[in-house]
Symmetry: C2
Subunit: 436 residues, 2 copies
């Protein structure tokens, strides 16, 4: 006998959990599709050389790598960004640019497993590649808004910044040499607090510069005023972040955007707009969607430069929040209707009734076997099934259908399957037709 054990950091997904995850991912994909993003897929295994890129020992430690039977050094992907870069470089001539893709798939990291952290988990990424335009910046933020709105989440703020604006201010202030160290300090603001950040900045650049760096530590309460001030102070014509912000002002959506120069994200990668998203009533979850603009996605793999902007959804965090809110209550029912199996002699009738109900978009089981009634009803309860169809000898003789509403503990008799559907299934899903 072999013990049916799992590897450390890996887990099974039971039906209730998997039903939730599938419903949730389908909703996210629908939102991405509604903006014209299209799915791609890449192999689970890639050459280790490609996965590693320029990364160092830390990544190597986390990677699941091995020598395959052809003596190639290979590994399981640890994110969806490196495979995207490889994909774009390899398939350039087959893609339509600006290329808007999404990818929701598993990745693997050999990190020390912790509570809620696994070695196999999902990532959900979306990108517009091949557009430097403000339109693309606006779209990424609009997408996050409509995606969350579509899930019934309205109490969130998108914290947005522009790395190039911060860069310009550093330049004008003569602090360019300190830029990356300043950003490293500011990046810790939500952990160590504004006061400590200010102290460390003071230590780094001296007290005289602190007033000019206040925008990084104090927060911005009035963005329009802030933009006017720095345009005036540094003699700037246009501020791209302001132009993006103004689109949301014009659309009456600016209340969901916080201009937040403390958002820095990865130091090497992002070059323009960067954003993180926080839920008003669940700040402790951290950002549920983050991303930004990069100057060149494919520098490792191609001579052609591909700039773009992208983001990701923190699937696990957001799903945990939505479950808590009850957004997906009811999606864990295994079926809508159970046809009680009194006698396998009557299987043709049970099957025909089930088939007719399915045509109306219902999910229907015929109990597999002629078990005791009590057992069949507790099966329905355990699977959260709503209705039981009772066609015993009497009902069959009378040509009627008895239906028990299992939640309401109510029985009703109908003249036909169609009558039951008409009178009791107003909540039913629409019939599943082929997309046209």
């Amino acid at each position: 006998m072999i013990e049916p054990k799992l590897l450390k950091g890996f887990r099974d997904s039971l039906p209730e959990e998997e039903l939730l995850r599938k419903t949730f991912i389908a909703r996210i994909e629908a939102a991405l599709r509604s903006f014209g993003y299209v799915p791609i897929d890449t192999p689970t295994l890639e050459y280790k050389e490609i996965l590693m890129g320029k990364s160092g020992e830390e990544t190597d430690k986390q990677l699941f790598t091995f020598q395959d039977k052809g003596d190639r050094e290979v590994g399981l992907r640890f994110d969806l960004t490196v495979p995207l870069a490889r994909f774009v470089a390899a398939n350039e001539q087959h893609l339509v640019f600006p290329f808007k893709r999404f990818h929701i798939a598993k990745v693997w990291r050999g990190e020390k497993p912790q509570r809620g952290r696994y070695r196999e988990f999902y990532q959900a990424d979306f990108d517009i590649i091949g557009s430097d335009s403000i339109s693309a910046d606006v779209e990424i933020l609009s997408l996050v808004m409509e995606l969350l709105g579509g899930l019934g989440v309205h109490n969130f703020k998108i914290h947005a910044n522009d790395r190039s604006l911060v860069h310009t201010i550093m330049e004008k202030e003569g602090l360019l040499e300190f830029e990356s160290r300043i950003l490293q300090i500011v990046d810790k603001i939500y952990k160590i607090g504004a006061e400590e950040v200010e102290r460390q900045l003071c230590e780094l650049v001296g007290e005289t510069h602190i007033p000019a760096l206040a925008f990084l530590t104090k927060g911005i309460t009035n963005p329009s005023e802030f933009f006017a001030q720095i345009k005036n102070k540094y003699e700037l014509n246009n501020i791209r972040l302001e132009q993006v912000y103004q689109v949301f002002q014009a659309r009456n959506l600016a209340h969901q955007i916080v201009i937040d120069p403390a958002i820095t994200r990865g130091l090497d990668y992002y070059t323009g707009l960067v954003y993180e998203t926080f839920l008003d009533d669940a700040l402790s979850l951290g950002s549920i969607s983050s991303g930004g603009r990069y100057a060149n996605l494919t520098s490792l793999f191609s001579k052609t430069s591909h700039s773009g902007i992208g983001g990701s959804i923190g699937l696990d965090r957001l799903l945990a929040y939505l479950i808590e809110k009850g957004t997906f209550a009811g999606t864990q029912a295994h079926a809508d209707v159970l046809v009680i199996n009194f006698s396998e002699q009557d299987l043709p009738l049970y099957c025909n009734v089930a088939a007719e109900l399915r045509k109306s978009g219902l999910s229907v089981e015929v109990f597999p076997g002629q078990a005791k009634l009590k057992k069949q009803f507790s099966y329905a309860d355990a699977k959260r099934i709503r209705f039981a169809i009772i066609m015993g000898e009497d009902e069959i003789k009378a040509g009627k259908i008895k239906v028990k509403n299992l939640a309401a503990h109510e029985e009703k008799v109908f003249a036909s399957v169609q009558e039951f559907i008409l009178l009791e299934c107003a909540w039913q899903k629409p019939p599943k037709t082929l997309p046209t």
Copy 2:
């Protein structure tokens, strides 16, 4: 620069292909859900010992196995059956039996790559575990029928057999010692022909037994007559395969079932009903859905015995056939509508119109950047987008919307977004609401 190359036997999935596959898999999942099957998931990586089970060198050669950084012998799953057995043994107490699950996921095999054969591919499995009943046998065949019917495929035959019936006949004929060798020969009938099978059988068991084995080689044209004959000849009371067949006779669906004793499937594993499914107009594709009844799924991992019946869909084969038939024509459009971007000054308007259209279930892009009109239209063509919304200076002044039907090369002017939706988008998908 690193060459963006793929491992041998692995491939990228470009948007057109991935859109098709996702639409197709969603349809199959909907059919499985309509029968009350629920999804599960298992880890990509498992202990090698678990994956290998009792299999020998052949499986070992095909497995992607390695030592992980904790010195554990691990491997990528090579099918979904071994993980299911491990899953059921490990989670017994959390499952509702009879347990009806499906699992559509990738598996990996280090086979020599051939045309149309990859080292990473999808499997789609469904099972009822914990039911010995005829109802379960009937359900598996009904499911295959409704699933194919739902995809618009009606010209198929399910070839069904019962391993226990063949076993009984062997016993009655005194041929039990030859059973597995007889089945090995019969299994080749579609490759080597009935005549050669008969010759080999004759060589094995002698000429006197050949008439009694004719049912294995000659095909059965009249199942009812066949069942009557063997009941009479061997003094059998009930033939389970006949009981299953009679359900489909009563439902007027027997014309889609062929009683075919030459169907044997895996010799060690299956113990009851076995089936394969062939398309009348594409026999050369081979079986597009196969499966059968087994006596004990979890013998390797648990003292509790779990019998059941299951099947799988040949996703790649069936999808290739449906694409050929044009079933999924139109699903490769990246979006329904492109809003032309004349000037980023008007982004708030473009975004608002796009948001309004999305509320009606349409997929809408705003062109990312103010490129030349010609470029924007060829972008729409390349992405198979149906409508372009034209809101230039004149239209904005007049408060109208001009829409170009890109397939029909027709322009029309509408007073509002709603008028356009009402008059031109009768084909639109229903608005995406949360399932209740």
